[in-house]
């Protein structure tokens, strides 16, 4: 079928070449080429064809996912694909937006064994893990505790007489709950438990625990394991529970690279706990990238559909316009499109920084880690909250059809939304960043210079010397200049950090305990962190512009950068007004300029989502198809619904007919 005429027209009117922008997003033309090559391996492989998952029951979806996981293991080996990023491309094309039950085996289980074991342990376990001779997962979260790790209740008590650890789930709340792949798939788990030796609790440690019999896959004696039931999304994942009753494992199953328990029960302390920061930073950088991609996918669907859908009239007597021509629709979608681009650049930045610093970690230089750890906590929360809300706005912008599973957006949403809670609940993450900001602020007030992303706090001490307060700064903001807007965001962050710090001090002066004062200031602290993260995002986006060599691409990215920054000011106008960074008249100009930018971006909207270069398989959406043939394909899709299997549904014979007969 040919491409819908509206989309053809949209693509012809773009002012830049989408392929060039794709290269920027991928990190170079060579990487784009390789990505497409790998995607083609999946797309052209009949083994990976499958039924639309929307029509399957949860058990069937789980089974399909397991089938694909097994198949992927074989194929990756066959093609000799081993680079993590290339594996990711391959898997993403197989799975669309869905998780795989073996996902934690390849990520957390593998990575933990690789990084937290002794040489002897590596030798024993790594071949088993890499060869998928065992399947493992990472069991940290319990029913009663998530982000607050110290509260975990599972115990591992060392018994020197048998040189074993005895694992127990002493309460209902201590049952491991949520780990992916735990319910039905895995036969091993890395269990985090409070270590007791020689009568003392030594805190949380990790243990390799076999949970199912190799060969029969039956749970081992002392182990109760199962699936935690249906969820909002993640139908293919057997998130599980695990309860242990006096379950014994050998001493060697404790991961002992850092802390150790000697045969007689003597506990040897780890060198530095900062090292675990590395993994956390890595995982959070993945979530930032995921925020960018999920929002990009939702934008692609909503914008293409808005170019295809015609509704109502703008001008009397003329044909119905594309809904993308309505200002309200542009106002819903284009700021999100700009956000998607911003987050793509933030994701790339964190990944690069992580790789740079991990070089340092192996050489023992950990000086940058605390800031990076604090920054990624906040950015993880900031981007996932924004993307979460943005995906829903995209769905709403598709009207009634967005609500159908065929739009694909419900799946993007339900798969993405748990990232607001997993790997650190967002509010707690924001407060971690706030703790770093408060520390930096205190440093600054005591006369020390602070460095890195918080160096703007140094300006606060300089301003204090000047007699007039904030009001004097207003005139300088130029709303057409990204660099000037970065300064505006910087001032806002500085002001909110300062105000939170002062409120915190005021609470302390009321002779409240430190914890109480912190809690009574936490809403302010979260706002300060958000402002800090917002500043970082604007700054990174503006910095990216300088790297773009193609003039046409740079022009369109500059429009998006301006829209992102100005829309954020418009939405948070109160902060800028209250701090005197902008006047009411300037805010009115900002609002006006936002609307002008909508019209400027409009002709490039479809080309801008095309540049994300998602294959239809990645989108999983009838509304967002590249060819725009929406309505025909909705009908084709609906015919496959399970309710349509028979012409007359059995309910008619069972219930309707008897009722009508009786009446």
């Amino acid at each position: 079928m040919s491409v819908n005429a509206d989309l053809r027209k949209e693509r012809a009117s773009a002012t830049f070449q989408p392929a060039l922008l794709t290269h920027i997003l991928d990190g170079g033309p060579e990487r784009t080429r390789r990505r497409k090559e790998i995607e083609a391996l999946v797309l052209n492989d009949p083994d990976f064809q499958h039924e639309d998952l929307n029509f399957l029951s949860r058990s069937q979806r789980y089974e399909q996912a397991i089938r694909k996981s097994s198949l992927m293991v074989m194929k990756l080996r066959e093609y000799g694909i081993a680079d993590p990023e290339e594996i990711y491309w391959f898997k993403r094309t197989c799975l669309g937006s869905f998780p795989e039950p073996l996902g934690l085996h390849f990520s957390m289980f593998h990575k933990t064994i690789e990084t937290q074991t002794t040489a002897a342990q590596k030798e024993k376990w790594l071949p088993l893990v890499r060869g998928v001779k065992i399947i493992g997962t990472y069991a940290q979260t319990e029913m009663g505790h998530g982000t607050h790790l110290r509260g975990l209740e599972t115990t591992a008590t060392y018994d020197p007489s048998t040189q074993e650890f005895i694992l127990n789930s002493p309460t209902v709340t201590s049952i491991k709950w949520w780990p992916g792949g735990l319910g039905k798939t895995s036969n091993h788990a890395i269990v985090l438990a409070q270590l007791y030796t020689q009568g003392q609790c030594k805190g949380l440690h990790a243990f390799i625990v076999p949970i199912r019999q190799l060969g029969t896959h039956e749970p081992l004696p002392g182990i109760t394991v199962g699936d935690i039931g249906p969820k909002f999304g993640y139908d293919e994942m057997d998130n599980g529970y695990l309860k242990m009753d006096n379950f014994r494992i050998p001493r060697e199953n404790m991961l002992m690279k850092y802390a150790q328990v000697e045969p007689d029960g003597t506990y040897v302390k780890p060198v530095s706990d900062k090292l675990t920061y590395g993994t956390m930073v890595f995982i959070r950088s993945l979530i930032v990238g995921d925020s960018a991609r999920s929002l990009s996918r939702a934008c692609t669907i909503a914008i293409r559909y808005s170019a295809v859908r015609h509704q109502s009239e703008l001008k009397p007597g003329e044909p119905e316009p594309q809904i993308l021509d309505y200002q309200t629709q542009q106002y819903k979608l284009f700021p999100l499109l700009a956000t998607a681009y911003a987050f793509n650049f933030v994701g790339a930045f964190i990944k690069d920084t992580y790789h740079r610093i991990s070089g340092d970690i192996s050489t023992g230089d950990l000086s940058e880690l605390p800031e990076l750890h604090a920054l990624t906590a906040g950015l993880k929360a900031f981007t996932s909250w924004t993307a979460n809300a943005g995906i829903e706005e995209c769905r709403m912008a598709c009207g009634g059809h967005g609500y159908s599973r065929c739009s694909g957006i419900p799946d993007i949403y339900v798969t993405f939304t748990p990232s607001c809670t997993y790997e650190g609940e967002n509010t707690v993450m924001m407060l971690q960043t706030a703790r770093f900001l408060m520390k930096s602020y205190t440093q600054m007030t005591s006369g020390q210079q602070v460095t890195g992303m918080v160096s703007y706090l140094n300006d606060l001490s300089r301003q204090r010397i000047q007699p007039q307060h904030v009001a004097a700064r207003t005139v300088s903001v130029r709303i057409n200049d990204p660099t000037s807007l970065v300064e505006a965001y910087k001032s806002r962050a500085a002001r909110l950090v300062e105000s939170a710090a002062k409120n915190l001090q005021a609470e302390l002066n009321h002779r409240r305990s430190k914890e109480d004062a912190w809690n009574r200031t936490s809403v302010d602290l979260v706002r300060a962190s958000e402002a800090h993260c917002h500043y970082v995002v604007v700054k990174l986006f503006a910095a990216k512009l300088a790297e773009v060599t193609d003039a046409a691409v740079r022009a369109v990215l500059t429009d998006l950068c301006l829209l992102y920054a100005l829309f954020g000011i418009s939405r948070n106008a109160g902060d800028f007004l209250q701090a005197g960074i902008l006047t009411s008249a300037q805010i009115t100009q900002v609002n006006q300029h936002v609307k002008e930018l909508l019209a400027v971006i409009r002709p490039n909207a479809v080309a801008l989502v095309d540049s994300f270069d998602f294959h239809d398989v990645h989108l999983g959406s009838v509304l967002g198809r590249y060819d725009g043939n929406v309505y025909e394909n909705m009908f084709e899709w609906a015919k496959k619904s399970p309710l349509n299997k028979t012409q007359v549904h059995e309910s008619f014979h069972k219930h309707l007919k008897p009722m009508q007969a009786k009446l």
Binding site: F55, R58, S59, E63, I66, R67, L128, K133, M143, G144, T147, H148, R150, V172, G183, K184, L214, G215, D227, I228, G229, P230, K231, F232, S312, Y326, T328, G402, S404, R405, C406, P410, T417, P418, T421, Y422, E515, D516, R520, T521, V523, V526, A573, G574, L577, S584, N591, K595, Y631, E632, M634, A638, P642, V648, H649, E650, L656, P658, M659, Q660
Partner: protein, 674 residues
């Protein structure tokens, strides 16, 4: 009461006692929960009737929702049909009638989990749009369920914009029939409930053609399935539109018509008629059609929008006192998460909004009843105001409550993501309300059109409806508050809201006029101002909601602590609105930067005050455990135990074939080496 208490506990078998963390919350209530429940119900007698209905429904196993989260779409549909059929019997047994006082509680008691809801819309549309003769013919058939009706308006290509519908009905004088057709794919009827599998008849909206001339959209009764064997009628293609985010129990359908002929008498002809010779006649006022839309928009607020938010608040708040996490003070027990300011700031404003909109709904109902009385006297003067308010509030309340349910969901952390928490289903259901019965952005623009018109009228010294007279009293000035306590004065914050609404409406009106005067065409000018117009409409509704809440509180009886706690909620609702939209209030200097700090301080203080009554405030909503259907939010607070018990019932815990088929081969070739 005793009966009710037992039913509250009945769902979790092992679970006898109330979790002490929840019990302690109930001992310190500052007001009488029972009295507040009666206030919400509209009187003690109403509470009694509601509880009796709920009890009768919940004690009947056919209506159980116990396995809902584990069922497939087909199973859900079948259960809903079974319940709908059983409900007829039940109503007969209990002596409930459609006009009786019990009727309105049935839907709430079923949590909407029943089929044939569109059958009622079918009947209502015939009653409103049909001639006396048509009513006499069809209504008895429908009442006795000799047929099952649906209502087919929305098409694949068009929703809220009705004039764009493409289905055609061509009158054939020779046979005195209408010939119905779906001329292209986008004209296919899409989404109507009960149509995919159940309905035998439906009211189809189509463009009427007589002698080659198009007369616009009209309603026609079309039979689509056989009354004998339920097979599709000739020329009809119909089916289910496939899985959605929710409403798995409803067979939303598609319908394709190919030269389907229906007799002339099947066009609903209260207002328009086609005579045998093809003459088209209009009679009576069609304004009443607006009134129908208005009535639907108002009627959905209570059951479809407020109930889900109230349930979500109940679940999130109860869970937040049962869940303990981290320590607030060293050496102490872990703190209840509701003691964290950030958690309070998530859930308590939602609780305040639930109460605020409950009273907004009362206000709209009253206005509607008054309008209805006037219309019966052939006075249509109230229609524009009613239409504007019902559109704007439908949009505002659905949007606010949908966001509120999602906040509650996320406030429950990971466990909120489990279907067993009950929250995902509440969310996916309520969010449909932002689209059906008029897409929200379009509705807000309708309200805005009314506001701009009224503003112009006021400027020209003409009279306007009561809800917008404030536009005439524009007084520039500054907020007079001097301390944070001043912001607990309804006069202060109501006036601030009024100021913002006036500013947004007047500045948008001015912008529109400027554009038109500078030569921009009217419709272009309108499109260029729509973002501002939407904001103006929201500000207007927000102002009315705040003002109405404040006025309601003033009239409440001071006994039993009810007025005091409602005043706190009203303050919180108002200050939360300012706190989350500070720019609007700071703009033009009405509120100063220093005053904004006072707002924040007062707002945060209020959270701690309402925190103490949070559990009693959700208890007052009086939802049974069965209606919450949540492992996290039950009355006894045994969240973890229940979560564990329910999970074990999941069908996924039966042995999966995946191991034998896929995992074993994957592991197998190397097993021997282990």
């Amino acid at each position: 009461m005793a009966l009710l208490e037992t039913s509250k506990y009945s769902q979790g078998s092992v679970l006898g006692s109330v979790n002490p963390d929840l019990a302690s919350e109930r001992q310190t209530a500052s007001f009488s929960v029972e009295k507040l429940t009666a206030l919400l119900d509209g009187g003690v007698e109403q509470t009694r009737i509601r509880r009796a209905v709920v009890d009768a429904i919940e004690s009947d196993p056919v209506f159980s929702r116990e396995n809902q989260y584990f069922q497939t779409q087909n199973e859900r549909y079948e259960a809903a049909v079974k319940k709908a059929v059983h409900l007829q019997k039940k109503m007969h047994e209990m002596g409930w009638t459609e006009n009786g006082p019990e009727y309105k509680y049935i839907y709430r008691a079923l949590s909407g989990d029943v089929a044939f809801l569109l059958h009622r819309v079918f009947m209502r549309s015939i009653s409103m749009l049909g001639s006396d003769k048509q009513i006499a013919k069809w209504i008895p058939l429908a009442t006795q369920h000799k047929l099952i009706g649906s209502y087919a308006q929305t098409e694949l290509g068009h929703g809220t914009y009705l004039q764009g519908l493409e289905t055609t009905a061509v009158f054939d004088t020779a046979t005195q029939e209408f010939i119905l057709n779906t001329p292209k794919i986008s004209a296919m009827k899409w989404w109507p409930g009960d149509m995919g599998r159940s309905a035998t008849h439906t009211v189809v909206f189509a463009q009427l053609y007589v002698h080659g001339k198009c007369y616009g959209i009209h309603p026609f009764i079309v039979q689509i399935r056989s009354l004998q064997d339920h097979s599709l009628c000739p020329g009809v293609t119909a089916g289910d539109i496939g899985p959605k985010m929710n409403f798995e129990h409803i067979d939303n359908g598609y319908l394709l018509l190919k030269n389907v002929r229906i007799p002339r008498e099947n066009m609903l002809s209260k207002f328009c008629e086609v005579r045998p010779d093809g003459t088209y006649v209009r009679q009576g006022s069609q304004k009443i059609n607006y009134f129908t839309m208005t009535s639907v928009r108002i009627s959905l607020i209570a059951d479809e929008v407020l109930t889900p938010l109230m349930k979500a608040c109940t679940i999130a708040i109860r869970y937040s006192v049962v869940r303990r996490q981290s320590k607030l003070k060293p050496g102490e027990q872990e703190a209840k998460i509701l003691d964290y300011q950030t958690q309070q700031e998530k859930v308590l404003p939602q609780l305040a909004a639930a109460y605020a909109f409950h009273f907004t709904n009362d206000y709209l109902q009253e206005l509607f009843n008054r309008g209805y009385r006037e219309i019966q006297r052939k006075n249509f003067d109230m229609l524009p105001e009613l239409h504007a308010l019902s559109s704007g509030f439908k949009a505002m309340i659905t949007q606010h409550c949908t966001a509120g349910v999602e906040i509650c969901l996320r406030a429950c952390g990971g466990h909120g993501y489990s279907l067993l928490s009950g929250l995902p289903s509440l969310y996916t259901k309520i969010l449909a309300s932002c689209i059906y019965e008029g897409e929200n952005t379009i509705l807000l623009l309708q309200t805005a059109r009314f506001l701009i018109k009224c503003f112009m009228a006021v400027s020209a010294g003409q009279p306007v409806p009561p809800s917008v007279t404030y536009l005439a009293a524009v007084k520039p000035g500054k907020c007079p508050a001097k301390s944070k306590l001043d912001f607990l004065s309804p006069d202060i914050y109501t006036e601030a809201y009024q100021h913002v609404a006036v500013r947004l409406i007047s500045s948008t009106a001015a912008k529109l006029q400027d554009l038109i005067q500078s030569g921009v065409k009217k419709h272009d000018a309108w499109n260029q101002c729509t973002v501002q117009l939407v904001q103006a409409a929201k500000a207007h509704c927000h102002y009315i909601a705040v003002k109405n809440f404040a006025e309601t509180v003033e009239k409440l009886e001071t006994k039993a602590g009810i007025q005091k706690i409602m005043k706190h909620l009203c303050d919180l609702f108002a200050l939360h609105g300012i706190f989350s939209n500070t720019g609007a209030f700071l703009h033009d200097g009405y509120t100063s930067a220093a005053q904004m700090d006072m707002v924040t301080a007062s707002y945060l203080d209020l959270l701690a005050v309402i925190r103490k009554d949070a559990v009693p405030l959700v208890d007052a909503f009086d939802f049974t455990d069965k209606s919450l259907n949540s492992a996290l939010g039950s009355y006894d607070g045994q969240a973890y135990q229940r979560l564990y018990e329910w999970a074990q019932k999941s069908p996924t815990n039966q042995m999966s074939p995946a191991y034998e088929r896929y995992l074993k081969p994957l592991l197998h070739n190397t097993l021997s080496k282990l």
